[in-house]
């Protein structure tokens, strides 16, 4: 992929790094307009509220869980973007937290981005991630009588759907 990376992606990364030098584990510019920042999961609240107030990433697009059974981790990805800050309008910033697979838990960000309410409920149900401080963490999409483990985990297989 040949892409020209403009200075804005660098700005996002540099500002975050200088604000939280000890909490940022890894930064990456995936491509033009796409930035991924891996952070220490214990400091989500601080980073997220700073992102919203100072950098202008005012809304959450979604929360995606990704299961890596071989590495014994579940990644929790927060995709955030900005409506109000013109220079960051087209950037999608991915905040990545790496959680332990046996007991994934992270603090809730419903107080920072209100729209996280339903996204967190979905990730809780599909990946079993516990969002501490969520006001109403219960199942959202699956049937009421579904009692199995979180269905999106990789070791939950549905052989009738084919090979994976």
């Amino acid at each position: 992929m040949t892409q020209t990376i403009s200075a804005r992606e660098e700005t996002v990364i540099n500002k975050t790094k200088s604000q939280f030098p000890q909490y940022i584990k890894e930064t990456r510019i995936d491509s033009e307009r796409r930035v991924t920042i891996t952070f220490d999961e214990d400091h989500l609240q601080e980073i997220a509220s700073w992102m919203r107030d100072d950098l202008g990433f005012d809304h959450l697009i979604g929360i995606a869980g990704v299961d890596y059974p071989t590495q014994k981790k579940i990644e929790c990805l927060y995709l955030v973007a900005s409506f109000s800050k013109p220079e960051f309008q087209d950037i999608i910033l991915t905040l990545k937290a790496e959680l332990a697979r046996d007991n994934p838990s992270i603090s809730s960000i419903t107080s920072i981005w209100q729209s996280a309410h339903f996204h967190e409920r979905e990730a809780f149900e599909m990946f079993g991630i516990k969002f501490e401080g969520h006001p109403d963490l219960r199942k959202l999409l699956t049937l009421d009588n579904w009692e199995g483990p979180p269905p999106m985990l990789k070791d939950i297989k549905f052989p009738e759907m084919g090979q994976r």
Binding site: M1, H59, G62, T94, S115, F118, K139, L141, P151, G162
Partner: protein
């Protein structure tokens, strides 16, 4: 029962009653709204979704990149091109495939036709039927069928097109398509004036929708709503402008934005969007480049993450795909307009009359199947 967006229930009140609306298809798909009512007022609602959840994201991990297209566009069949495109953009990005210019133009035309069809469906059901307006239901459905016939001619299917595999569209424009589409657009442009007279300027519709369900600009930003709902609250944000895909960077169009933020503004914003879609299709037809429409794309995608997004009729669809060097994605995550706008339901439907609920619900153009995936 309470969500963050809801006020605490009045515990002293003895007069509240819980009413369940749905899940038997309250108008646009299976969703249950648990309403707490006090006399004629709705105190709070709790949307109970998931009745049409099919596990699209899980199924996608079992299918190869091309066979994922038909089932991933099913969640919103009236807007299939956009769901299809949103999935294909990150796949192309991972594989490093670029679509030739003509392919981009054809995809853009198909997408804008789809936007008109989807808005007409909304106008017929979510605006027309929900406000008790039978005439606009018949008119909008009738005119939508003319677009569907052309879409069938172009893609081979009336609704579920699977038109855009990685690399470019499946078919070129059929011979004579351009003339037929131009004729239809001329007709439809005149029809929109009549729609305006019979529905959008109708005093009864205005009285029922104006000032109802107001979503202020700062609340719209805070809630992270998207699409026409966001633009009706005065935020000028459209993926077609901020991150142009397809042929949108070559085309000149405007983003209709209204400041009122009420149900009526959400009605009007879709009317204006249809006018802009006509404008976009006309420009795309006149600027249509020559050449091939598609390139060959590999069946395998390398390791890595890619995020693509499009502006669908219901707002931004963002798809994240993680590849693992095989012909099947490791993870597909779909974040769509309906699911993002769901937060606006409990926020707007409170302290309103029960009779206003269908209008607010309809103005959000919430599509349960898309939200449930």
């Amino acid at each position: 029962m309470t969500t963050t967006t809801q006020p605490p229930l009045k515990e002293t009140s003895q007069s509240t009653m819980d009413v369940s609306v749905g899940p038997q298809h309250p108008g646009s798909g299976h969703v249950r709204l648990l309403m707490r009512v006090d006399g004629d007022y709705i105190v709070s609602i709790d949307p109970d979704i998931g009745y049409v959840h099919r596990g699209c994201e899980k199924i996608a991990e079992y299918r190869n990149y091309v066979s994922n297209i038909p089932h991933l566009e099913r969640p919103c069949i009236i807007d299939a091109i956009h769901l299809n495109w949103a999935y294909v953009l990150p796949v192309e990005k991972l594989q490093g495939v670029t679509v030739p210019p003509r392919g981009k133009y054809i995809a853009t035309i198909a997408a804008e036709m789809n936007r008109i069809m989807s808005h007409l469906y909304w106008l017929a059901i979510n605006a027309g039927v929900f406000s008790g307006h039978t005439t606009i239901f018949m008119w909008a459905f009738g005119d939508r069928d003319l677009f569907i016939e052309l879409a069938e001619w172009l893609t081979g299917a009336r609704l579920t097109y699977s038109f855009l595999p990685p690399g470019g569209p499946r078919r070129d424009l059929p011979f004579g398509f351009e003339q037929k589409l131009t004729k239809l657009l001329d007709y439809f442009e005149k029809r929109l004036i009549e729609y305006d007279r019979v529905f959008f300027s109708n005093p009864l519709v205005v009285a029922r929708a104006k000032g109802i369900g107001v979503l202020k600009k700062e609340d719209a930003i805070k809630l992270g709503v998207t699409g026409p709902v966001l633009r009706a609250s005065g935020v000028e944000y459209d993926v077609r402008k901020v991150e142009p895909y397809g042929a949108y960077s070559d085309l000149d169009f405007r983003i209709p934005t209204f400041n009122a933020g009420d149900s009526y503004a959400r009605f009007i914003v879709r009317l204006e969007e249809m006018k802009q879609s006509i404008n976009i299709i006309r420009q795309a037809l006149s600027k249509m480049p020559k050449g091939s429409i598609a390139r060959k794309a590999p069946l395998v995608a390398p390791e890595g993450e890619a995020i693509g997004r499009v502006e669908s009729s219901r707002g931004e669809i963002t798809v994240m795909i993680i590849g693992d060097n095989s012909d099947k994605p490791y993870r597909v995550k779909i974040m769509n307009g309906s699911f993002r706008n769901l937060i606006a339901l409990p926020y707007l439907i409170r302290n309103v009359h029960i009779a206003d609920m269908p209008i607010i619900y309809g103005s959000l153009d919430y599509w349960p199947v898309e939200a449930d995936r």
